[in-house]
């Protein structure tokens, strides 16, 4: 990202934002509600057009507030629409026992875990995480942090937006005002 600016509804959220994520690197986007954290993630994902600046990235996987899984299908099958092998993601987020449960039966925290399981199983080098810790219990948070550490150790990069404390050692901090 170079010199990225974002306009939403005629309001300038941020401008002149530069960010480079090398393999193994991570960046943590922080700021109060409405500062543009989610917008920054969506700009990075290519879902929002930046008002100025350029964004280039490799393959990426996104976990945001939307689950995007077929509610009627069992979790494993719903995930299998998106990723070739859902098992590593399910195992990493402790969802393996729920693989046969229909998505609509999952609780808020379990749905968040499922969204993260898709990102983990996607095998993309860049993870875009919007409030990944929302709704997760202490156990889930630990599993998420372990998965993120493993992803970075394997040469992956992470861009995460959060207002909760999230253990991302040596992450760059981007504070949006």
């Amino acid at each position: 990202m170079q010199g990225v600016a974002c306009l939403r509804g005629g309001r300038l959220l941020f401008e002149g934002l530069d960010l480079v994520l090398a393999p193994g690197a991570a960046a943590l986007v922080e700021g109060p509600n409405g500062a543009g954290k989610s917008s920054l993630i969506r700009v990075a994902a290519g879902l929002l057009r930046a008002a100025a600046g350029t964004v280039s990235r490799g393959e990426a996987a996104l976990a945001d507030e939307h689950l995007a899984l077929d509610e009627r299908q069992p979790l494993q099958r719903a995930l299998a629409f998106w990723v070739r092998d859902a098992a590593p993601g399910l195992a990493a987020m402790g969802l393996a026992p729920l693989a046969a449960v229909p998505v609509r039966m999952l609780s808020t925290g379990q749905r968040k875990r499922a969204a993260l399981a898709r990102v983990i199983a996607a095998g993309a080098p860049l993870w875009l995480l919007d409030e990944p810790g929302n709704g997760l219990d202490a156990d889930g948070l630990r599993q998420l942090e372990a998965a993120m550490a493993a992803h970075r150790a394997g040469g992956g990069a992470i861009l995460a937006a959060t207002h909760q404390p999230l253990a991302l050692p040596d992450a760059q901090r981007l504070v949006l005002a």
Binding site: G46, H66, A68, W82
Partner: protein, 213 residues
């Protein structure tokens, strides 16, 4: 792409969503004789046009489930990240929607034609017209569904957008029933349908992109 089409088809068949337009179509065919009386000759003359109108209205029913649920659930966003263009997504939706709408409607036209005492020749023309016209109606459904996705009470607006655009399909489809192909109605129906099928993915793709802002 094949996976996307199959997913559309699965969603349409799950929970009987695809049956709704068919039941509606048959219901209209049942109501029509009640409304204009049991005069066989009159029914046979007016029935074909009534069935085309019913097909048009039936095409309106699935519009709100074509794009909006995927937009709201973030499926369109995830597909974008998977590298699918919005036009490709719209084309897959068009194909999947037509498969769950066109051929079943042609099948439902058989009992409907019997209810209206349509002569065999008219039935044959109706089936041919539906085969050519329903892809255009399915394309309109996807295009209008994408345009109205995310709006509140989009149903009424979808009707106002879709029905005027579907008028040429109705005119040429019903015209072919009446006069045969002397005036080239079938070719014109094909041209309109082709235009709609060719244009809808681009319009729907642009609408999906614009809907993210």
């Amino acid at each position: 792409m094949t996976g996307l089409v199959l997913r559309e088809l699965r969603l349409a068949l799950a929970g009987g969503a695809a049956a709704l337009p068919l039941i509606f179509f048959l219901l209209v065919a049942t109501l029509f004789p009640f409304a204009i009386g049991p005069d066989g000759a009159l029914l046979a003359r007016a029935g074909g046009g009534a069935l085309w109108t019913a097909a048009l209205l039936a095409a309106l029913l699935p519009v709100d489930r074509l794009v909006e649920p995927d937009r709201a659930a973030g499926v369109l966003d995830q597909l974008h990240l998977k590298g699918f263009g919005e036009e490709t997504i719209a084309l897959a939706k068009l194909l999947g929607h037509w498969l769950s709408f066109g051929p079943p409607l042609m099948l439902a036209a058989l009992p409907a034609a019997a209810l209206l005492k349509l002569p065999a020749e008219t039935l044959w023309r109706l089936e041919l017209g539906l085969a050519i016209g329903t892809p255009g109606l399915a394309a309109l459904g996807v295009g209008v569904g994408a345009l109205t996705a995310g709006l509140r009470r989009s149903g009424a607006l979808a009707g106002l957008l879709l029905l005027p655009l579907a008028v040429p399909v109705l005119i040429f489809g019903a015209g072919y029933l009446e006069r045969g192909n002397g005036s080239g109605a079938l070719q014109l129906l094909g041209a309109v349908s082709l235009l709609l099928v060719a244009g809808a993915p681009f319009a729907a793709g642009a609408a999906i992109r614009a809907g993210r802002d």
